[in-house]
């Protein structure tokens, strides 16, 4: 399938700002999906509200653009009601980890079969640059004029603690690794979570001396450190932060029975 069979060409150029990492994630996702030769018409795409959450509207298949923070809950209903559909959620750090935090952790725990891709741009892009639950400590945003005093979530680590079957984190500077992880996630039975640290030059970069998207990519390259999958996180570790470190890699890859298997819902791929 060509790129613009997978995506809705008539909606291009898309709404995302010049240099926004969302488009990069779209490339990698298309590549992964296509290489696995998954049936597009049997895949549903669900988004919350936010720039990242708009990806489903560009894909040439069934899309559910929902309310802010609830994409996983909507996806859970859809998936369980129609288990022959593959279910993919696109979400942002705000959508998933701020307002949607509860559905996120309970989604990991419940382990319904779905792929959740969170584009973590460390900011609220859509609403114009407010701090997010992943904005690094001391960084600027429109709601932290004196620097962000809070410390960020480590979304991937929380997904591990909450029980997801597959957890990985990459950045938009790691397109090949990301593509591989997306493939793994799409093939995983159960809740698979991929976090992509991504650039929002408009609303994060500009306020943090990285107005040029390539500066952000370079930042990602320099701060990324691979996580040792066999070793759990250290207890005092707060990511993308004090140490200026972005931990990347596969965090967990396990095979807890998924919810559909547990309750014996119809057939499922």
């Amino acid at each position: 399938m060509e790129l613009f069979e997978f995506y809705r060409k008539d909606r291009w150029p898309h709404v995302f700002c010049p240099g926004c990492g969302i488009g990069t994630v779209m490339n990698c996702f298309y590549r992964a999906f296509n290489e696995l030769e998954l049936p597009l018409d049997k895949t549903a795409f669900i988004g919350g509200i936010g720039c990242s959450s708009r990806i489903p509207l560009y894909i040439n298949s069934d899309a559910l653009h929902t309310t802010h923070g609830r994409a996983i809950a909507f996806a859970t209903g859809l998936r369980l009601a129609k288990p022959e559909l593959k279910t993919v959620v696109f979400t942002g750090d705000g959508d998933l980890g701020a307002i949607g935090g509860n559905h996120f952790i309970n989604g990991c725990r419940r382990n319904v079969d779905m792929t959740v891709i969170c584009i973590n741009n460390n900011i609220y892009g859509m609403t114009g640059g407010q701090a997010s639950i992943t904005t690094p400590h001391d960084y600027q945003s429109t709601t932290t004029p004196y620097g962000n005093k809070e410390y960020p979530f480590d979304l991937a680590e929380i997904a591990v603690a909450a029980g997801a079957n597959y957890v990985a984190r990459w950045t938009t500077r790691h397109v090949h690794e990301l593509t591989r992880s997306l493939k793994a996630a799409l093939q995983k039975k159960g809740f698979a979570f991929v976090e992509v640290v991504s650039q929002c030059p408009t609303n994060f970069g500009r306020r943090n001396k990285m107005a040029d998207p390539t500066q952000m990519l370079e930042w990602f390259r320099q701060s990324s450190v691979r996580r040792d999958k066999t070793k759990a996180a250290e207890v005092d570790h707060v990511d993308l932060n004090l140490a200026g470190q972005i931990t990347i890699g596969e965090f967990v890859d396990r095979n807890r029975e998924c919810y559909e298997e547990l309750i014996g819902v119809g057939k499922h791929g």
Binding site: L3, G23, M26
Partner: protein, 82 residues
């Protein structure tokens, strides 16, 4: 195969310029129809994939371009000969 930039899509972020390990791209100087100084493929022949006929071994540009502006096109016979 060689990379081509679609001027109707490129938003001039210059990520391709940054990411290409072979420095095939450079910043543009002309305003495109959609209002950007689109990047240009200035040295396609340096590309890893040049003359490889579909065996893609890098593709950082295609995967990275946020606007789906870069795609692969066959070289002309002349280009291939180079």
């Amino acid at each position: 195969m060689k990379p081509v930039i679609d001027l109707k899509l490129c938003k001039a972020c210059n990520i391709c310029v940054y990411i290409c390990p072979k420095k095939c791209y450079s910043k543009g100087a002309d305003l495109s129809e959609i209002g950007y100084f689109a990047a240009v493929v200035s040295a396609a022949e340096k590309c890893y994939n040049h003359n490889r006929d579909g065996k893609m071994i890098c593709e950082l540009c295609v995967l990275s371009c946020p606007d789906q502006a870069i795609s692969w096109h066959p070289e002309t016979e002349e280009e291939k000969r180079k």
